[in-house]
């Protein structure tokens, strides 16, 4: 999905790098530790831990909020997942926060439960795929130019670009359908290598870039 989460190569986000602090605490603030755990548990309750639905919720966090704090972004995505599945009413968290702050607020009633589900082929995201692969190592492939309206793992900076299949990766649940509970639809996955000049032009620094792409994103050149 186009939006703030898809940052690769986007000069809007360019700027000085933060300092690397080898001693950085895992959770610098207590609320971040609790937000980490509570968000994972919220996603368990809301989607039976659908990782792709979680990432899609993160993509839908409004930009200003997305950029404010990392675990604030997680909390916002938890609220999206919980309201989508009818566990919490819209505004329930804000109302509770105001109540905790001592304000006199009426908290909204719980909505009708609406937890989405889909059949699963097992734990995790790796799947054995019987159908033959469309591409082999060394094939030249072009990524689709289409921008997905929903969730996708094809970064915008790769769209329409030609690369070379560098490695065959295990079959995996397709994020584009799984995030929307349409189905796991497992697909072959490829590590595709791009020359920097194909991505950024002749004046680019010299380097190669590999990105892991699902078969439906690609066509043979």
């Amino acid at each position: 999905m186009d939006g703030v989460a898809d940052m690769g190569g986007d000069t809007r986000f360019f700027g000085p790098l933060p300092r690397i602090d080898p001693e950085e605490a895992v959770f610098p603030h207590e609320w971040e530790a609790r937000a980490f755990a509570v968000t994972l548990l919220a996603n368990r309750a809301a989607t039976s831990s659908n990782l792709h639905a979680f990432r899609h919720a993160l993509e839908r966090v409004p930009e200003r909020e997305y950029l404010a704090t990392y675990y604030g972004r997680w909390l916002a995505s938890a609220e999206i997942l919980l309201t989508d599945s009818g566990i919490l009413a819209p505004g329930a968290v804000e109302a509770r926060a105001r109540a905790l702050r001592g304000e006199n607020v009426t908290e909204p009633a719980d909505p009708e439960p609406n937890k989405p589900s889909m059949p699963t082929g097992g734990g995790g995201n790796l799947r054995t795929i019987e159908s033959p692969r469309a591409f082999a190592v060394g094939d030249r492939v072009r990524a689709t130019s289409d921008a997905a309206a929903g969730h996708t793992r094809l970064p915008a900076y790769i769209r329409g670009r030609v690369g070379t299949v560098a490695a065959l990766l295990p079959g995996q649940v397709l994020p584009d359908t799984a995030a929307h509970f349409i189905g796991e639809d497992p697909r072959h996955v490829y590590s595709v290598e791009y020359d920097a000049r194909e991505l950024w032009g002749e004046e680019s620094e010299s380097f190669s870039l590999t990105v892991d792409l699902f078969e439906p994103y690609l066509e043979k050149v």
Binding site: A5, M7, F14, L17, I20, L41, L126, P170
Partner: protein, 196 residues
Amino acid sequence: MTDADDALDPALREEALESLLLERGLVDTATIETFIRTYETAVGPMNGAKVVAKAWTDPDYKQRLLVDGTAAIAELGFKGPQGEHMVVLENTPSVHNVVVCTLCSCYPWPVLGLPPSWYKDPAYRSRVVREPRAVLREWGTDLGPDVEVRVHDSSSEVRYLVLPERPAGTESLSEEDLAALVTRDAMVGVTKVAAP
């Protein structure tokens, strides 16, 4: 987004969400504490450092690690969420690998724990796929033009661990002493491991 949302302090927002879920029996304090403790103490870059030190001292292990990262890492007991399929990338004097997730913050949890703030920073996520040499230089890793740079964007469920170069002058060190030298940032590929 309303002004009220803007004013909501994230710590208060967390407390509110947690209390709503506690009331509904959807979270419990013991599980929350277990999740936190696991990633604060048990799972972190010290795991990846053990993998690297073993690869530096045991050529057979290194071979297995580069052929099947998942299995070789599991030999040391490291597996779990965000490590379903591990690929290990070897840095050498002529090839330098660096890993990013431009779409979110995918990171190999079983060997490196949760990602540090710099890995999640918009400047890193946006720039390293466009000007990796400048990014590495800014963090003190100046690679000559003869060194091939390979950037890996973690866009599927495959997770990458960089096997850094063993620093010169460490021939006499034990595996344990070597592990103590290995840094998180070197296992993502943004720096090299320094000699002691």
